[in-house]
């Protein structure tokens, strides 16, 4: 299994982190071709127990990419919200369904660097245009997750996966670090910084 981190309960992987090398080799278990070539790829079951693993992974990766601390936590929040939506609405709280998270750096000429995160599932499909957050002036519980994702990320695309399920692609570009500043700006005196 090389350098992959794998945790198993009753013979089935519940949280699996693999490297680009392993992803590109393929292992016959993952039907999601679009995840090939991801710099980091995570496979998890649809239980809320594992959302923090995905969130921590994304936060750690974005921190090492040089995102400001507040951006790191907000990108991780967007991933968390997306996973919650899949678990709650897509899989209707079934805890044993697959979710894949892939991470790529955005490194294109003329475009600020950043991160591209793709989340896929095999949950029931819905029309992408129907996925929208509720009106914020209408203060009521629920319906905030999609709004948070769209607010936090620079580009958000929902689409139906060929063969079933949904694909969410989120892109966040890095803001230029101010002269004399550091990537950790935005984390006041360490208070509340999510290590």
């Amino acid at each position: 299994m090389g350098g992959a981190v794998r945790k198993t309960i009753v013979g089935r992987p519940v949280l699996r982190l693999s490297t680009q090398e392993e992803s590109s080799r393929g292992n016959g278990m993952n039907p999601v071709d679009s995840m090939k070539g991801a710099h980091v790829r995570m496979e998890l079951l649809s239980s809320p127990v594992y959302t923090s693993g995905a969130r921590d992974m994304v936060q750690a990766v974005t921190r090492r990419m040089g995102f400001a601390e507040l951006d790191c936590s907000q990108i991780a929040l967007a991933v968390d919200e997306a996973l919650c939506n899949i678990m709650r609405h897509g899989y209707e709280n079934k805890p044993d369904q697959p979710i894949w998270v892939g991470v790529w750096p955005v490194d294109e000429p003329g475009v600020p660097g950043g991160i591209r995160i793709v989340i896929e599932d095999v949950a029931r499909q819905i029309e992408p245009e129907k996925i929208k957050g509720r009106e914020l002036h209408d203060v009521k519980p629920g319906g905030l997750g999609v709004h948070v994702i769209k607010e936090v990320m620079d580009k958000v695309t929902y689409e139906k996966r060929p063969g079933g399920g949904m694909r969410l692609t989120m892109i966040k570009h890095q803001k230029p670090v101010p002269v004399g500043g550091s990537a950790s700006d935005g984390c006041e005196g360490g208070k509340g910084c999510h290590a």
């Binding site: 127990v49 923090s52 919200e81 009521k140 519980p141 905030l144 935005g186 509340g192 910084c193």
Partner: protein, 116 residues
């Protein structure tokens, strides 16, 4: 504690004020537990409820939704609901959801208690 939950909740009555103090993360799993404690605070019929979030490291929208629900109950029952002690990252989600102006928010517990 159910699998995967990290939330602990303090519950204290000071005169006519109930102070609910969650500690840990309030995510998808924990929101249900948090809701139970907030309901308990409302059931106490105290005229003022303070939710001290100083020891909450992380919150996502299911956690926020629980507080919105509590706010709705407060408005119906004429109870005063005050949130306090949010760290920058928890406060950020209230700002993103435009809820920072909907809730009564204090910087810390002392400020919340001293509010008339």
């Amino acid at each position: 504690m159910p699998e995967g939950q990290t939330l602990q909740v303090g519950f204290e009555t000071q005169g006519e004020t109930v102070i609910v103090s969650p500690q840990g993360e309030i995510g998808y799993s924990e929101a249900t537990v948090f809701r139970t404690w907030l309901r308990k605070a409302h059931d106490s019929k105290s005229p003022r409820i303070i939710v001290d979030l100083a020891k909450v490291d992380y919150m996502n929208t299911p956690g926020v939704a629980t507080l919105v629900e509590s706010l709705q109950i407060s408005k119906r029952s004429k109870t005063r609901l005050i949130l306090c002690g949010m760290n920058e990252k928890v406060f950020a989600i209230f700002k993103i959801a435009r809820l920072d102006t909907v809730f009564e928010i204090c910087p810390n517990l002392a400020a919340a208690i001293s509010k008339a």
